[in-house]
């Protein structure tokens, strides 16, 4: 139960980070490759859908096992590969995305890597904040119990 709760918290946190980053990515790619296209309001759903796909690996790659740094990195690469595959498959199946342009496909592929790296950076910043609060509590704990 504790693990499911933690996993959900992580997924929600990642989801909103991804929605923001994907919106920025779509804006950049659209302005670069398809500036004149007029889109309907349904386009606002795209970042929400893509971000939902992006958080799927959170539920599959459980970290309850104590994995090494090497395995963790491999896991991250597999996750990135999964997201790249699904997103590109979606892009090629969507009629609104001009995948016939090589630049668009490269832009999506590179953009996904950038978004993924930025989401990891956001995760690191969040954990850095947590570690600061732990360090503060630790200093108080050691001071109260007589540091040795």
């Amino acid at each position: 139960m504790k693990i499911i709760k933690e996993r959900l918290q992580e997924a929600v946190r990642l989801y909103f980070v991804l929605v923001t980053l994907i919106s920025v990515l779509l804006m950049i790619l659209g302005m670069a490759f398809d500036r004149d296209r007029i889109l309907g309001y349904e386009v606002f759903l795209s970042p929400l859908i893509y971000a939902a796909i992006g958080i799927i690996p959170v539920f599959f790659f459980g970290n309850e096992k104590e994995i090494s740094m090497k395995r963790l990195l491999i896991q991250r690469f597999i996750t990135l590969g999964f997201i790249e595959t699904v997103m590109l498959a979606l892009a090629f199946s969507a009629s609104t995305i001009p995948t016939e342009k090589k630049g668009v496909v490269i832009g999506i592929a590179v953009g996904i890597v950038v978004v993924y790296v930025l989401s990891l950076a956001a995760e690191y910043l969040f954990e850095l904040g947590v570690s600061k609060s732990i360090n503060k509590a630790l200093a108080e704990y050691q001071s109260e119990n007589g540091s040795n």
Partner: protein
């Protein structure tokens, strides 16, 4: 050597401080006595039986069904299972940080993120220990619990 004994309010920690010009055998004996009063663990090293003061233990780790205690520069084997050691150290500053490891909170210098919800604890002897994601919440709870339940003096 002058001896000072002073009562302090309960909200202040009890401290036994020894000020010396030179670390003589006599002073080491006093330190050893004080440490022994705070608990010892029976351990083995190179076939010799040794008593290790609990306050000197940085962490304990189970490797291939054998449990080892790690002090600042040394390691010793104990004839206990990790869960038995955990029970024995209950109420002290030890907390499980991995499935096979107990860590002394008093020996942590600082904590930093280590990717994937894990954290890395830099110990006062320079070693780094990974705190697994599963035990991070327990660590936070132990440190923020009123009265600091995981601890007490070690």
């Amino acid at each position: 050597m002058e001896l000072k004994v002073k009562q302090v309010p309960t909200e202040q920690p009890e401290v036994l401080e020894i000020r010396y010009h030179k670390l003589t055998d006599e002073i080491e004996e006093i330190i050893s006595f004080v440490k022994s009063r705070q608990g010892q663990l029976d351990a083995r090293k190179d076939g010799r039986e040794i008593e290790i003061p609990v306050v000197d233990v940085f962490y304990a780790e189970s490797v291939d069904n054998r449990v080892f205690l790690y002090t600042e520069k040394d390691s010793f084997e104990v004839r206990l299972k990790l869960y038995e050691l955990e029970e024995k150290l209950g109420g002290r500053s030890f907390i499980r940080v991995q499935k096979s490891m107990l860590l002394n909170l008093m020996k942590i210098k600082s904590i930093k993120p280590a990717l994937g919800g894990r954290y890395s604890a830099l110990l006062k002897n320079g070693e780094e220990i990974v705190i697994s994601r599963k035990y991070v919440m327990d660590l936070k709870n132990a440190l923020t619990r009123p009265g600091h339940g995981a601890g007490g003096k070690v």
